[in-house]
């Protein structure tokens, strides 16, 4: 049983790398390209974890996060926020709104893999 991860980001240039990376790590990967798509995807695909970008069209990552946390059925969904907004206030807001972790761009893929594994409660085997 592999864990399912949703990548919600409107930038194809990061999605392509993340998708490749996470598939390589053995996860099932789903992609959403804006806030609305992310929300519907979360509802239908029921991912275990969402990599959530803050700056997205239609609905921001903050709003998606709030909506997920407001839905009792989705409480198990882990949220890892990824954003270019590096200010302390943004981090605090993301965490306050219910994100499980927050990473500021740019980040190393190794750290990301570690963080994802941590959140999903998996041992970090074989991470290169």
């Amino acid at each position: 049983m592999t864990a399912k991860i949703l990548i919600a980001d409107d930038e194809p240039n990061i999605v392509i790398s993340l998708e490749y990376l996470l598939q390589r790590e053995g996860y099932t990967v789903v992609v959403a390209r804006d806030g609305n798509e992310a929300l519907s995807s979360i509802a239908t695909e029921r991912p275990d974890l969402v990599l959530l970008d803050v700056m997205m069209p239609h609905k921001s990552g903050f709003e998606v996060c709030q909506a997920v946390r407001a839905d009792a059925a989705l409480q198990a969904t882990k949220i890892l926020m990824l954003t270019a907004k590096g200010r302390e206030t943004d981090v605090a807001k993301g965490l306050a709104l219910g994100a499980n972790a927050y990473m500021t761009k740019p980040f190393s893929t190794r750290e990301l893999v570690q963080k994802v594994a941590e959140l999903l409660g998996r041992p970090t085997e074989g991470s290169a």
Partner: protein, 727 residues
């Protein structure tokens, strides 16, 4: 025509009656000694000559009347005039003598009065000399400091509690001149002047907010409390204003914390438009380079990391390389764009001030309570926090949110919390009960804030961004509470840096000041009931093409001076030639000395009046024969829309109130009576200055007659006006 004293008429009447009675009495006495035959004979003789008797009586009466008139002039009229002249001597501040005339006794009396006056003047000169000596060293010190203040590169304005300006330096005047919309006539004096309200320039709300914070700091016993704010002036200039208090009493020991009320405040102004702009542009550039490049760097890094895998298939490798090329291109483009944008104008970043958290919480509590009529409690407030905020707009945002909670969700109790988190402070506006949807919160954040009928262009989001902070809405399900959380920057140092102002006495005499205004308190009494000596006056005069405004005569010169707190302010005068838009009659030129080519190219009255209106704001108008000048101003009301609603006093009428026995109330005659040297008579400003001097001398004379307030002066003037109409 002078009025005849009723006492004189009465005296002549009584004399007539006494003469008639005496004639009758003598007749009766003679009649009683006569025999009946003699009586008949006398009757026969007298009856046809009765008219002669009456005529004799009338002639006698005329002689007596004439004698009485002469006596009246000598013994009643002359003393009355002497009395008036003596009163002038009594009120005079410079030595003045009476001219002895009339009877020997009157001359002796005048001489005696002169001797008394001389004695008084001698004593006064003596005292003046002593005072002058005593204050000489003080004055020297003041002068030194005045010079220093004039050199200051910062504008300094000192106001009393009511915001009336009592001191300003040259620099401040220059600054206000650039803000002034007027012509050169007043050179900024319609905004900046002794006794003027500083609220003509600054928003009352913003300034009183700053003062309130100073009050709080003083109550706390802060060593040198001050506040600052940034405000936009006319023309979009940004002024940073530093406010420092002037405390009421300095005579108690210095080590007891002064809780004395403010007696005034000092404003230090700085035009920060330029520096804020530059700083903001630099900031924006930096922001664009960091935040904007983060995504690109992330994309590149991720792709490079993937390229590091040895087992990468060639197709994937090509895709990751494409990502790297694409992102590098994007970044290059961004750097170019930013370099270009750096030269353009960017959104202003607002300078923030340092404020004690407890002060902010207290102020918010007070403001929300006052605005929403709801109980606001403080809970978990870390009183020792120093924040870096724009407290005015932040309080607006808090009040606005509270207002909507009360209005739309019927929230009854509100709570404020303030705690530090890392380098920030979190300020919570908490309520119990119903929570709202995220859409609602979003719209509250993005709507322009309104308070009743008052609107601001700012949104809550703008306020947050001004602070570089964040705000969100959160629920506390366990406690059945919901709250708005504000993340606000903390001040980098504990407490604002108290600027070393040095000795307090360093605020001393600059070029323009009147510290006596500290004592003035205008609250609570209407203009009409305030003493004449306390009021501010604009004394003005006009020169015109002729005497008939309705017939097309027009103003060609307007001159004015200000009197504040009993002092004529010669450096804040108003003088403007006006193009009348018509021919100036040759005959009038010798009177005012203004020829056609002098007014060519000068502004028209429609341009001059708005400036004069601003100049005369909040003052009582004074003119000699004011009705004439006012008529010219009022005729412009329809075309310019400028109306002068303030009270008007007329020195001609008031001179008649004070000196009813004088023959002439022409400007020259009064000036001569008061021993005023006339300079530049028959220019508008020259006459206005003479009128002002006269008015200053009339005030104490009116007081002697029990006329103290503006209302009394206006009533008295009206009576003489009616009196003059009758005769």
């Amino acid at each position: 025509m002078k009025k005849i004293d009723p006492r004189l008429l009465l005296a002549v009447g009584v004399a007539g009656l006494v003469m008639a009675a005496w004639l009758l009495l003598m007749g009766v006495v003679v009649w009683s000694t006569l025999q009946p035959a003699e009586r008949a004979a006398v009757g026969e003789v007298l009856a046809p000559r009765a008219a002669l008797v009456v005529l004799g009586w009338l002639a006698g009466l005329a002689v007596v009347g004439g004698a009485l008139q002469v006596l009246y002039r000598r013994y009643v009229g002359a003393p009355a005039r002497l009395l008036e002249e003596t009163r002038v001597v009594l009120a005079a501040t410079t030595p003045q003598q009476l001219k002895p005339r009339g009877t020997a006794e009157m001359q002796a009396l005048a001489t005696a009065v002169n001797e008394l006056a001389a004695q008084r003047d001698g004593l006064r000169a003596d005292m003046d000399a002593q005072v002058a000596q005593a204050s000489h060293s003080v004055q020297q010190e003041k002068n030194r400091l005045a010079a220093l203040m004039a050199e200051l590169n910062q504008s300094v304005v000192v106001c009393n509690r009511d915001g009336r300006i009592l001191l300003y330096n040259q620099r401040a005047r220059q600054q206000f001149r650039t803000l002034s919309q007027g012509t050169a006539a007043a050179a900024g004096a319609e905004l900046m002047g002794i006794g003027r309200s500083v609220y003509a320039v600054f928003d009352r709300q913003v300034l009183s907010h700053a003062l309130e914070r100073i009050h709080q700091a003083m109550a706390r016993g802060a060593p040198s409390p001050s506040a600052q704010f940034v405000t936009t002036a006319q023309g979009g200039q940004l002024l940073r204003v530093q406010v420092a208090p002037v405390r009421a009493a300095q005579d108690h020991p210095a080590d007891t914390p002064s809780t004395a009320a403010l007696s005034g405040f000092v404003l230090m102004l700085e035009n920060v438009t330029q520096s804020v702009q530059e700083e903001s542009e630099r900031d924006q550039l930096l922001h664009g380079l960091t935040e904007g490049s983060r995504s690109s760097l992330a994309n590149i890094q991720a792709a490079v990391d993937m390229l590091g895998y040895a087992d990468l298939e060639p197709a994937m490798r090509e895709r990751f390389l494409a990502v790297v090329r694409d992102e590098v291109g994007t970044m290059g483009q961004r750097v170019n764009d930013l370099a270009q944008r750096a030269t353009q104008r960017l959104k202003t970043r607002w300078p923030l001030e340092e404020m004690l958290g407890a002060d902010l919480a207290n102020a918010a509590q007070r403001q929300i309570t006052a605005h929403c009529q709801r109980t606001v409690t403080l809970d978990d407030v870390d009183a020792s926090l120093w924040l870096k905020v724009d407290s005015y707009t932040l309080l607006q945002a808090l009040t606005y949110l509270a207002h909507r909670l009360v209005d739309e969700f019927e929230v009854r109790f509100l709570q404020l919390r303030l705690q530090p988190v890392g380098a920030h402070a979190q300020l919570d506006l908490v309520w119990s009960g119903q929570a709202m949807s995220n859409e609602t919160v979003m719209s509250w954040e993005m709507d322009a804030m309104r308070f009743g009928t008052e609107r601001t262009p700012l949104t809550v989001r703008d306020v947050i961004e001004r602070h570089g902070g964040e705000m969100w809405f959160e629920r506390d399900r366990v406690r059945h509470q919901a709250f708005f959380r504000f993340l606000l920057p903390l001040a980098s140092v504990q407490g604002p840096v108290e600027s070393a102002l040095g000795d307090e006495s360093s605020y001393s005499r600059p070029e323009y000041y009147d510290f006596d205004l500290f004592q003035m308190d205008e609250q609570g009494s209407a203009l009409d009931d305030r003493p004449l000596s306390e009021l501010a006056y604009t004394v003005f005069d006009t020169e015109t093409t002729g005497l008939n405004p309705a017939g097309g005569d027009a103003i060609i010169q307007l001159g004015a001076a200000r009197i504040v707190n009993g002092k004529l302010l010669r450096q804040e005068t108003f003088e403007q030639l006006v193009d009348p838009g018509r021919h100036i009659p040759e005959a009038s030129i010798p009177i005012h000395g203004i020829s056609q080519d002098m007014v060519a190219g000068k502004p028209r009255i429609a341009q001059v009046l708005p400036v004069f209106h601003a100049y005369a704001q909040d003052t009582v108008l004074v003119a000699h024969n004011a009705a004439f000048d006012m008529r010219f101003l009022q005729l412009q009301e329809a075309t310019t829309g400028i109306a002068f609603h303030q009270p008007v006093l007329d020195t001609l009428l008031l001179s008649a109130v004070v000196h009813p026995h004088q023959e002439s109330h022409r400007l020259e005659a009064i000036a001569e009576r008061f021993n005023i040297t006339i300079l530049g008579r028959h220019t508008a400003l020259g006459d206005a200055l003479v009128t002002a001097e006269i008015w200053l001398r009339l005030i104490p004379l009116l007081q002697e007659q029990g006329i103290h307030t503006l209302r009394q002066a206006r009533e008295a003037a009206q009576k003489t006006y009616y009196a003059r109409l009758k005769y």
